[in-house]
Amino acid sequence: MNEMTPVQSVGVAKPLVDGPEKTTGKAMFAADFQAAETLVGRILRSPVAHANITAMDTSKAEALPGVHAVVTEADCSDTYGVLPIAMNEWALARGRVRYRGEPVAAVAAVDVATAQRALDLIEVTYEELPAYFSAEEARAEGAVLLHDDKPGNIERDAEFDLGDVDKDMAEADLVREIEVKCSEVCQVQMEPHATFAEYDGARERLTIRPSTQVPFYVHKMLARTMGMAEGHIRVIKPHIGGGFGSRTETLQSDLIAGLLARKARATVKVVLSREETFITHRGRPESHITMKVGMKSDGTITAVDFTVQQRGGAYSGYGIVTILYAGSMIYGLYNISSARFQGLRVLTNTPPCGAFRGHGTVKTRFAFEGLIDDMARELGLDPFAVRRANLLAAPTMTENDLLVNSYGLDQCLDWVEKASDWQARKGKLPANKGMGMACSHYISGASKPKHWTGEPHATIHLRVDWDASITLLTGAAEIGQGSSTVMAQCVAETLGVDMSRINVVSSDSALTPKDNGSYSSRVTYMVGNASIDAAQNLKARLIEAAARKLEIATDDVECLGEVYRGGQQDQGLTFDEVVMEALAGEGTITVKGTFDTIPESWGGRKYRGAAIGGTMAFSYAAQVVEVTVDPYTAEITVDKVWVAHDCGKALNPLAVEGQVQGSVWMGMGQAMSEETGFHEGLPLAANMLDYRVPTIIESPPIEVGIIEAADPHGPFGAKEAGEGSLSGFLPALTNAVADAMGVRACELPLTPDRLLELLEKKARDGGANSDRGAA
């Protein structure tokens, strides 16, 4: 007789629970919803980058047959924004437009042609103001303020000065500086933004399906903008075609769809074009970084002194958080004590930036890892050795009070060094080929939520009914990252049952418990833990029922997942029988599970904004990139990437690999080809041909090593897997180019023209290595 064991679900490669819908075309994305008499919503956008709106006349549009609603700022009750302390956007511009393409009015009409004609009939008078497209222009003396309460057009100046930077810098054997400039990049998730909104005029209720990563935030902002009771709005998250931070805050199109549906008292669908999706933006800001590092001759880092300036765009958005991350995350990867940071987030007349994957950390990491690579070369140290000279030892607190409870960077380094055969191959490759490496890390969710209400960070409901199926109700937004699958795995593993018993219902405000959403890699850690907690609570109920039925003590019940029994000889009860017993006299069972962060993880108080960076656990990554450079065209081919990622425990190794590959590859686009760019505020690349997302042709093989430095509080030890390996690609690539060609690239993306310039400069300088870049 086979010995019965609980079914294992965690640590096993699992296809996504919603995979079949996605491969058959049945998955419904927001734009796929259609009801009888669905109206088309369209948005009128500002043709100028900065102006006062002195008059607006919508009467002709309203009179056009087929038009059911025209909305303007007059229909909005309040501002909106993602940070409670910085809500300075209107769904439709009030009094002033601050970037080209900002929504000023919207219409709902019977068809596209009528909606378009109606937009043409809206008359807006603009009185233009000076517009600033670079951080320098916006900061200049006497510049007109974009927002009256933001002197100098500064959204936030952030700073810290920890340890004794000047003393430790003086004690270094080598001090070097670097100056880097990185272009603005956009998420370009495959699904353009779309929202399907139904208004029930008889009951004054709104039901809305937005393409969002944060249904709860959209819910709150809809209520605020529309002046509606939160309880009169139902937000249902459809399938989401990727996010990467592009919709990790409420977007105007979500709010406009709600406003139009209410005014038309009808069903309205707003689908943005790709161009409008680019203009909505919320990508990574253009950044200018200077950095000085002090190093001992053995590679030990003594101090870091750096400045970051970000061109934030026209509104606050996540800006304060982004600039704080750019500083605080210098810590947590290596053993650094003294660091000084000055950050400036500047308001400009360009589309607002947001929280792109790897939020705030990417460009700082790029500067740092490039600089220490050059310093290693100068000191005659191997790039791996210089990283190993600065490892942390967990558990520890960083100088800025970030909790590091688990740390697998050493293992990541070992893995990529071996997999890439670094020691044997580095420096021995043929001409124009090179290898580079870099490390990176990321948080597993911010330990202090933006909306601090005292509620747990995550709540899960599990429902068990007469059919013995388990319904997992979660507010966490499945956006393609596999969160529903991971939660089902956590529940199945805890109960020892097969995953096929579990149905996941994700993000419907009428059914599922509140969740803050899918951002900052919080879901696996926080919602995973809540799932385990819920499953444990359910298991306790089932064990009680089994004990009752078997007439034994609960402690004597042996739970084998599909069977509960009193001992080896006992035939026991099937899961279905246990459920029937548990339901007797009780009815359908619903249990709850929650998760809360511990106070030690909340970040520090040593400087203003020091909570940013506080997390329960960091993921770690190391990667090696191998390139070939065409010396004539300066075109770079990435031949191969080896990446090791410490995710604590790979709950779903298949999904971890997919996330890590996706991250590395997204870093590649940013490093090599992607940039938005504006001319007088007019986007230069608001389409997927001019904005160069890598195609399958130039995308390299990416070999993933999974490292499991279990986190003591993580769900089965797990930490994040979807962001931490992105930022390492950028410096690993430029380090590889430095190895191949002897030039240090300090401006990204490293397009052929930028690299050609560096190569020509090197040739002019008589082959002298311009290692230190602009500094």
């Binding site: 079949p20 491969t23 075309g25 990727g242 590959q661 995308s699 093989p701």
Partner: protein
């Protein structure tokens, strides 16, 4: 101007009066209600709308429906018959070639066209065949594995779609 369009979509015959300027992708999504085919860009940039027209992969967003007179159109919605996933669909599912799934319909149709004309593609063949399809989630690694999985399944005797 209007046209009477006669064609088959996933094996079903249609006769529809359509405006001359209607795009095939809008015809499929709005007129036949088959929303599996996606729109990811403003025209010809992303491949999400890839369908088969007489076995050839085409951008439905760049094709006027009226030019498809008497054509045989196939979309992702029609691939799995009797609720059984095809080898390609299983490949994309089991190898995680689909994360968010938005590029997936186009990827699968472009791959379907490839496997019909070349049942034993090299990795370079796969890259070539999918060069017009952007995916923003996967980095393409597992998409290549998904197509390889399907080719192997088909070679080992599985029936095509």
């Amino acid at each position: 101007m209007k046209t009477v369009l006669s064609l088959t979509v996933n094996g079903v015959a249609h006769d529809d009066v359509i405006p001359d300027n209607m795009l095939l992708v809008d015809y499929l999504r709005e007129k036949t209600g088959l929303t599996g085919t996606k729109i990811g860009c403003d025209g010809g940039e992303c491949g999400a709308c890839t369908v088969l027209i007489d076995d050839r992969p085409r951008h439905a967003c760049l094709t006027l429906a009226a030019t498809c007179q008497d054509s045989r159109i196939e979309t992702v919605d029609g691939l799995s018959r009797d609720s059984r996933l095809t080898a390609l669909q299983r490949g994309f599912n089991e190898k995680l070639g689909a994360q968010c799934g938005f590029c997936t319909p186009g990827m699968i149709m472009a791959s379907e066209a490839l496997l019909r004309r070349n049942p034993d593609p090299s990795e370079a063949d796969i890259r070539d065949a999918l060069a017009a399809n952007i995916c923003r989630c996967t980095g393409y690694v597992k998409i290549i594995e998904a197509v390889q999985f399907a080719a192997q399944e088909l070679a080992s005797g599985e029936l095509a779609s």
